[in-house]
Amino acid sequence: MVEWSDQERSIITSIFASLDYEDIGPKALSRCLIVYPWTQRYFGGFGNLYNAEAIKTNPMIGAHGIKVLHGLDRAVKNMDDIKNTYAELSVMHSEKLHIDPDNFRLLADCLTIVIAAKMGTAFTADIQAAFQKFLSVVVNALGRQYH
């Protein structure tokens, strides 16, 4: 089981409590598709992904970014058992979506960078460390049921 200090819990809940999902979700997903273009392979039915501008303004990608970001809510509410909380989601990502689990890490890195841009210098090293730890646990849990 992952051990969380009180400070880490408070950092994570505080980030998500003040998170603007409608802003951050689309930015994180579109950044991932631009910075790591091979991730576009999972979005064949999402319309125009022809260039960065198209991706940034694509409403389907925007909506999906919000959905994915809200997917983290259950982890925030169940920090002491993220592994089991995401067991079903992991199976779905493996058997239905067929997503290479390495992509979870790429999206997590983009999310970190988008939040750093939003928070500026308020995104301290300690906050980055707690957030990195949280995302690593989530990424790990989502890849766990692959076989």
């Binding site: 579109s30 950044r31 631009i34 910075v35 960065a52 940034k56 890195d109 970190t112 960078i113 988008v114 750093a116 841009a117 939003k118 928070m119 500026g120 210098t121 995104f123 090293a125 300690d126 980055q128 460390a129 990195q132």
Partner: protein, 143 residues
């Protein structure tokens, strides 16, 4: 995934905006590396003070970022231009190349936090490719 002309132009243009703060960016990036990825402290066991605000970290961050600044000027031939740095990393420092990715990520986080308007997704991909190319050049002589 080599650098094309657009990447190079984006890197040079963005770098000219941030170069004035290179020392602080370097110090901040290295501080974050050791806080977010504590295993990287193993490379600094010879320092008495490995805390993120220590003078050692500030000075070394400046040194590392100086290397990145130099790499920007040699962007058309990183392998040739960074030859002596490559030998240093291969034979003396022997930093596991996996750590270059971790430091790259920390540098990108600092750039995003300090230049949110300029660090667009297009600049992000160019900088990520550039730092990956620098890492490859540094690891050139490892084996």
């Amino acid at each position: 995934m080599s650098l094309n002309q657009t990447d190079k132009e984006r890197v040079k243009a963005f770098w000219s905006k941030v170069a004035g703060r290179a020392d602080a960016i370097g110090a901040e990036s290295l501080a974050r590396l050791i806080v977010v990825y504590p295993q990287t402290k193993t490379y600094f066991a010879h320092w008495k003070d490995v805390s993120p605000n220590s003078p050692n970290v500030k000075k070394h961050g400046k040194t590392v970022m100086g290397g990145v600044a130099d790499a920007v000027t040699k962007i058309d031939d990183l392998k040739g231009g960074l030859l002596s740095l490559s030998e240093l990393h291969a034979f003396t420092l022997r930093v596991d190349p996996a750590n270059f990715k971790l430091l790259t990520h920390c540098i990108l986080v600092v750039l995003a936090a300090q230049f949110p308007a300029d660090f667009t997704p297009e600049v992000h991909v160019a900088m990520d490719k550039f730092l990956a190319a620098v890492a490859r050049a540094l690891a050139e002589k490892y084996r």
